[in-house]
């Protein structure tokens, strides 16, 4: 064969190979759309029905609703949704190693059919999807819809599932899970150390031992430095040099650069100690929505007044997290109050004369509050004054009554935590013993950081213990969503997660200052 003919052949081969890769990519993309959105390649909704039920269409029927983004399924009560990712469907089902069917006199609990079925091929997969009959001949349970799908669509789903979780995630080695925690320079050293002490010891004492047959957990600390604008680059550099599977705990005030990094990287970033989490987290899971929640609580409180104000006068430092609170407060307020207006004032700048139509919201640090109180403004009687417990650290001071004397009896403290005494009792009960065993001590200044970090570690530990194979970041996030009951020592009275729920605590109290100077709830826990 001549050289030119060979060259022509090589070109043709490359073109065909590219064509086939393209066909594969298309097939996977079509499968992804079916799986995640319940949509066909042409954008029309897929159709199907549950036995005896009506014809359903679209997102309701998308596989992801039950089999989850990871494709690893779920368990709800006694309903088991089998895993599908990677080569699971295309290899014979297997009972877990060392597993014996459970028996008692007169009864036996057999393995679920997905553990004993033969491997699927295209024909049996088509039968499963269309007729609800598994590869082993078992009829599927009622929640599994019977679909109207073409052969091409079955092939697309198979192609999508095969690649799901097939690429090992970063930071995961056969014997080790690499975890990272982030310390930002914009929080006091004492808080940083409180986080590191609890997290380091908790991870070490809960990790499977090396050589135990399960992956051991190795924690690395990523310390950020310089201005926040450089943090994202520093994080990427850490991840490049020593890749982590997930981030646990961590601490920082301006969390936006870390949030953006986590979301872009698809890294599970679990329960950092920050009062300013990012919005709409997909791969981050936060303890609470942060000061933005305080803003929404403030708005709810003001809207529920007999005569709600017309203007929100908000004092906050432009470069600090108070801006998030102020924006959230006004956003929620203006959504229900027609013609609402806002006036933003920097701490130290003179306040304009306020009227009965105004409410005053103070998103100020302890130092700024002190300065503000040093030159108290003249306020019309009865106008609402709201102060952030988080930014003002009013959950840490022993005598919040001092702030009441400065303002008015209409002062309310936005308090997104458990009542002080209950919170402390729970911390001591659930965490005190372990801490003293570790040579650590709960302290008023740091108990929120310590308790939240302990909970972050325990929930993550539960999730890691049950991490399935193939392990993926999506699967870890799903396990964390199910493991929230491990959060026994947060600063919050209620802490729940669920599929797609990425903020643990969701509400707060409005507190007034009692006659003894202590904060007492003014009304019920609110979820705005």
């Amino acid at each position: 064969m001549s050289a030119s003919a060979l060259r022509a052949l090589a070109v043709a081969a490359a073109a065909l190979a590219a064509g086939s890769a393209l066909a594969d990519t298309n097939l996977v993309a079509e499968g992804r759309r079916l799986y995640l959105d319940g949509q066909r390649a042409d954008g029309t909704p897929i159709e199907g029905r549950r036995p005896g039920g009506p014809l359903l269409a679209g997102r309701d029927l998308a596989c992801v609703q039950c089999h989850r983004p990871s494709g690893m399924g779920t368990v709800e009560g006694v309903t088991l949704v089998p895993p599908l990712a990677g080569d699971i469907l295309f290899t014979p089902g297997r009972p877990p190693a060392g597993h014996q069917p459970r028996r008692a006199p007169g009864m036996a609990l057999e393995d679920h059919a997905f553990r004993t079925r033969p491997a699927y091929d295209m024909a049996s997969l088509a039968r499963a999807m269309r007729d609800g009959v598994g590869a082993g001949g078992a009829t599927f349970d009622l929640p599994m819809p019977r679909y109207r799908l073409s052969d091409r669509e079955i092939a697309a789903l198979a192609a999508y599932l095969r690649q799901l979780g097939a690429t090992p995630p970063p930071g995961l080695e056969p014997g080790v899970v690499h975890l990272a925690t982030v310390v930002a320079p914009d929080v006091p050293e004492r808080q940083q150390q409180a986080m590191l002490d609890v997290l380091g010891r908790c991870i070490a004492s809960h990790s499977p031992a090396e050589g135990s047959g399960r992956r051991a957990w190795k924690l690395q600390t990523w310390r950020l430095s310089g201005p926040a604008s450089g943090w994202r680059r520093q994080l990427a550099e850490h991840q490049r040099r020593t890749p982590a599977f997930a981030m646990v705990g961590g601490i920082g005030r301006d969390w936006a650069p870390v949030h953006d990094f986590c979301e872009a990287e698809g890294m599970p970033c679990l329960f950092p100690n920050t009062d300013a989490p990012g919005a709409a987290p997909a791969s981050s899971i936060y303890l609470w929505p942060g000061v933005a929640l305080e803003g929404r609580l403030a708005a709810r409180h003001l809207l529920d007044q007999p005569a709600p104000p017309r203007r929100l006068v908000q004092v906050f430092a432009p470069g600090d997290i108070g801006r998030q609170a102020a924006d959230a407060a006004f956003g929620a307020f203006a959504a229900e109050r027609k013609g609402a207006r806002r006036l933003d004032v920097a701490p130290g700048a003179p306040l304009p004369a306020l009227t009965r139509d105004d409410a005053l919201l103070l998103w100020l640090t302890p130092a700024q509050l002190k300065v503000f109180a040093g030159h108290p403004p003249k306020l019309p009687a009865g106008i609402p004054v709201l102060v952030s417990a988080t930014i003002g650290e009013l959950d840490r001071v022993s005598d919040p009554g001092a702030i009441r004397t400065i303002f008015s009896n209409n002062l309310r403290v936005i308090y997104p935590f458990d009542e002080p005494n209950q919170r402390l009792a729970r911390m001591v009960f659930n965490l005190g013993g372990w801490m003293s065993g570790q040579g650590l001590a709960l302290a008023r200044e740091t108990e929120r950081t310590q308790g939240n970090t302990w909970s972050a570690c325990l929930v993550t530990a539960r999730a890691l213990y049950t991490l399935p194979n193939p392990a993926s970041r999506a699967a870890l996030i799903e396990r964390v969503e199910d493991a929230y009951a491990g959060a026994v020592s947060t600063a919050f009275p209620r802490f729940t997660l669920g599929p797609g729920q990425h903020y643990g605590s969701k509400g707060g109290y409005l507190m007034k200052v009692g006659t003894d100077g202590k904060l007492v709830p003014d009304g019920d826990w609110m979820v705005p």
């Binding site: 052949l9 609703q65 009622l142 929640p143 019977r146 109207r148």
Partner: protein, 208 residues
């Protein structure tokens, strides 16, 4: 050596042709839906009767209106009740869909039945979330289908009263409750009771 790339090209081409030859969209819709109706659900349903004492807690409906739970349930009509949460994946969507089918199946008798779905994740399920969820299942404004939320304690109290409480919401199992009138026992259907099963219990309750 020269024959090997040639062979590869042919194999690749063959795979590509097979792939393109896969027919798409061939699906006899009528045949299939007929076929599906003949299938039987494998989930079994167990029926029992019990008396439950309604706790005097206050709950909010999807419009944000608060009321005492016993007053909501004891309005004189037959009641159909279950426990759900809006971010639930595997169980609640079919359960809620089945309740929607029951509503459809009731036709003109729809207004003669009080339907109640109590959230077991009340912290997440605000009235606004429940309203969006209700709309998804065709329960719009002014329906007789209440979606209830409230404090954590109130929701737990109701779950406990119906012997349906699980400390972890992920542990909940499908169960439907029916009652003809206040003072009468509740019919409890454990398992994924389908619409026709529920309607079979409900219709006699509507008979004069």
């Amino acid at each position: 050596m020269t024959s090997k790339p040639f062979f590869t090209v042919r194999v690749t081409a063959a795979i590509l042709l097979i792939l393109l030859a896969v027919p798409s969209g061939l699906w006899a819709a009528d045949d299939h839906s007929h076929h599906m109706h003949s299938l039987h659900a494998v989930s079994s349903v167990s029926r029992s009767e019990a008396s439950y004492t309604m706790p005097a807690v206050s709950l909010r409906n999807q419009d944000g209106v608060s009321a005492a739970f016993p007053a909501l349930v004891d309005d004189g009509r037959p009641v159909l009740l279950n426990f759900i949460y809006t971010s639930c994946t595997a169980i609640c969507p079919p359960m809620t869909r089945i309740f929607a089918e029951v509503r459809e199946g009731l036709g003109a008798d729809r207004a003669r039945v009080r339907m109640v779905s109590v959230s077991i994740d009340p912290e997440q399920d605000t009235p606004a979330r429940l309203k969006a969820y209700a709309r998804q299942y065709g329960a719009g404004v002014g329906t007789d289908w209440l979606f209830l939320t409230g404090s954590d304690a109130a929701s737990s109290a109701v779950q406990k009263a119906f012997n349906a409480y699980r400390p972890d919401k992920m542990g909940h199992t499908p169960v439907s409750f029916l009652r003809r009138a206040p003072g009468q026992p509740w019919v409890r259907l454990d398992g994924m009771a389908q619409a026709d099963r529920i309607l079979a219990e409900l219709r006699p309750m509507l008979a004069k």
